[in-house]
């Protein structure tokens, strides 16, 4: 795709608003929360992802000469505004939940505090990055739950919405439990384990299926995986056994077979028998074909002898919930905390902290509090409960405050967070009782004060809540 500078990946209204702020001298610091309003159907939690790419974006925010030249053609873009864009860098602070952490609706995944123009113009890209990656990680966590102790590999690049989507999906899926990806560029960029063997076109390129198996096994003598469903799956399994026998004297070993169509439960059983009877008890069975967490859970429940799953389209597009309702809302500026009250969409005001309360083994509830608020007395479960804050400062003055965690560390964090979920939240299906999200006393009081002030003063925000 055409390359652009980072700054212009933004909605035009971010720039028109920037011009409006400057003209009105509204260039004080502002704080925005990025959060998801509600869970998609059948989801009970989200897995935060995308922070590393957000920080990359903010550290490299700039506009190129060519982009400026293009923008100059807009009639409202004058020299002053061009100068502003030309010099614009991100100099603010970011507080964020770590990648791999479980998060819930209404909780800030990240919070940006910066001069208003800077904080505003990054909205589009921050939402784009966090929402799409969190969506995939959240889907992948469900696939991992369905798989139990079996492995799965992401291989949906061809159905992802462009290159970034495929790269992000491979990374986000790994973060949330995949064993690797088929996408070579993601392996190169992120160090992910790579998986893949052959397609039907390889088998079809030979006059005979057995010839295709021989050629492939000789080239990959240390455990080739053969795709056996191009013509007839069970016949393909018998040919794999024959080829294994035939090539064993050459030191060639067959590692496994792949099924990509048909009744995977029935076929995996008959193929397992054929392999076992043919002396290939060690060969694994890999299954693919429009799988998702629901189908995998059925297959696992049926006890099908499948060792690993390939999950593509349904995972990389999060097909049953292909977007997350993530938003980026003004919550405070130098004149106080801000609240938005249109219809039933209330935004919680003020800079916040999210506390996760655990009994040591299991996370029990979260408390959304004001940043700096003391939570004494709020942990009503007594001494056995412990609370830890989720939002940490990760950027200050426009620079990372520390190196990113490694992807392996974030993956471990995710596994731990999913492990600590209340059991009911690991359900793939029913709407169980949701995780409990409390509001702290100070946040509750602030919402009440601002709402009352708003109602009594028309739309005027109350200056009493200056911070």
């Amino acid at each position: 795709m055409t390359r652009t500078g980072e700054l212009v990946f933004t909605d035009l209204y971010e720039l028109t608003m920037a011009a409006g702020y400057v003209a009105a001298d509204h260039t004080d610091d502002a704080t925005f929360d990025l959060f998801v309003r509600s869970l998609p159907d059948r989801r009970h939690f989200l897995v935060a992802a995308g922070l590393a790419s957000v920080l990359d974006h903010l550290e490299s925010l700039h506009v190129t000469e060519a982009e400026l030249a293009h923008l100059r053609r807009l009639d409202w873009v004058d020299d002053d505004f061009c100068d502003l864009l030309d010099g614009l860098r991100f100099t603010g602070e970011v507080r964020a939940v770590a990648e791999g952490e479980v998060v819930y609706p209404g909780e800030p995944i990240l919070t940006v505090t910066a001069p208003r123009v800077e904080a505003q113009v990054v909205e589009t890209r921050l939402l784009n990055l966090v929402a799409s990656q969190t969506m995939i990680a959240s889907k992948a966590a469900r696939v991992a739950i369905a798989c139990g102790d079996r492995r799965f590999v992401e291989f949906g690049s061809r159905r992802a919405h462009g290159a970034d989507a495929a790269m992000q999906a491979a990374r986000s899926a790994y973060l949330a439990g995949s064993a690797g990806t088929s996408l070579v560029s993601a392996g190169v960029a992120y160090g992910l384990p790579l998986a893949g063997t052959m397609a039907h076109s390889f088998v079809m390129s030979f006059d005979d299926e057995s010839d295709a198996f021989r050629a492939f096994a000789r080239r990959f003598p240390d455990g080739a995986v053969l795709l056996i469903d191009t013509y007839d799956t069970e016949e393909g399994a018998r040919r794999a056994v024959q080829v294994a026998d035939e090539l064993a004297p050459e030191g060639v070993r067959i590692g496994g077979v792949r099924l990509d169509s048909g009744d995977l439960v029935r076929l995996s059983r008959s193929v397992r028998r054929i392999l076992d009877d043919g002396g290939l008890a060690e060969a694994t069975i890999f299954a693919s074909g429009d799988l998702d967490e629901y189908r995998i859970a059925e297959i696992v429940a049926a006890g099908a002898p499948i060792d690993a799953f390939g999950v593509g389209t349904q995972l990389v597009t999060s097909a049953d919930a292909p977007s997350l309702g993530a938003v980026y809302k003004l919550v405070a500026d130098t004149s106080g905390s801000r609240i938005k009250l249109s219809e039933d969409k209330v935004t919680l005001p003020g800079p916040k902290q999210v506390w996760r309360v655990s009994d040591g083994d299991t996370d029990i509830y979260d408390v959304i509090a004001l940043d700096g608020e003391e939570l004494r007395g709020h942990l009503d479960g007594g001494a056995r409960l412990e609370a830890r804050p989720l939002l940490e400062t990760v950027m200050s003055g426009g620079r990372r405050t520390r190196p990113d965690p490694t992807l392996a560390e974030s993956r471990d964090r995710c596994a731990g967070a999913v492990w600590r979920l209340p059991d009911r939240l690991r359900s793939l299906h029913q709407r169980e009782r949701p995780y409990e999200i409390q509001r702290s006393p100070d946040l509750t009081a602030l919402v009440e004060t601002l709402t009352a002030a708003h109602r009594s003063h028309g739309n005027r925000q109350d200056g009493e809540n200056r911070r």
Copy 2:
């Protein structure tokens, strides 16, 4: 996102197959068709998109030193294979349907003929590019149909799956009828018209909604569009009128208002009255808020006085069909035509041409034929019918054979193709009688011969069909 060379945006199995082909000396020319197997629910046609990016990819296919270094760590990657990858460029031929053209399932959107390794390794990226862009263009064409003579603007960047997805969505939506995009980088890269005004955060940044309107209108005196639903939509409309009156002496003109929530039919009527009564009869009403073709069709049917729509999430994720079942299948090589017969997925063999048969005003049916086949006598409707071929050679020897059409030309082509659709195919809802796709006599005969040969020889492909 991390930048990679073009070649490694591929599934690992494309590389393992390439190694297998080389080891087995299977490096003759092969022809692959890229096509969509079936239409998503409620879709009656597709709009081809993505060809320009496909040709870019093929012309720049290469691997970087860093990527080679990474690949070397895989135990099966030896010096010979590294040399092969290092020297790999695309040198083949591409025949394709033009961007903006209507296509149907089973019809090749593009066909690649190249040395087998080259043709194979580009599979992943070609599917990724064509499927995602065709998906969006097809969705956008439906939105355009729903809008009728009203305009719509794409502004879903924040919900797209990464940067490429957003850029592609903006371009594909414009190709199929949007009036423009909110995404500045897409405006810069593709010359798309840009649209956008202000967000709720702008309004909330001022103590009073009217102050926000004043500041914005003064900065954009030649037709600012004001977002009026931050607090109360009708009250917002009255304030817009007041501000227009107040600032008229300064030469400031209000261009319109935007509604982003609530009952758009009811609110647009009351807002229209307020604007008309306040002397703003020329001001337009722009509406947004989780719109798709179905909702827009309802709003239009209700006669709501809305001039233009903003369409975001539902469009850029193609939410009701977030992937297309596009595939890339071997159809011929130097030893003959190839067919795949697993389960109910039959791939039509041989290099092909698609003929579109029209009565001059309306397209009536398509004929999938073998390339070079004479269609005489097949146009049974008599002299009034005309047939035109859809697949044209666009790349030869790895280079474009001509400049790409401009985006404006492709957009016109799309408008014409949608215009020539049989009326029933413009339905958004019911599964109407599908468009008729015929197979030519020679193609039918080839399928029968190959199927019979396959059945009688086990999986052996029949050499009688060498071309």
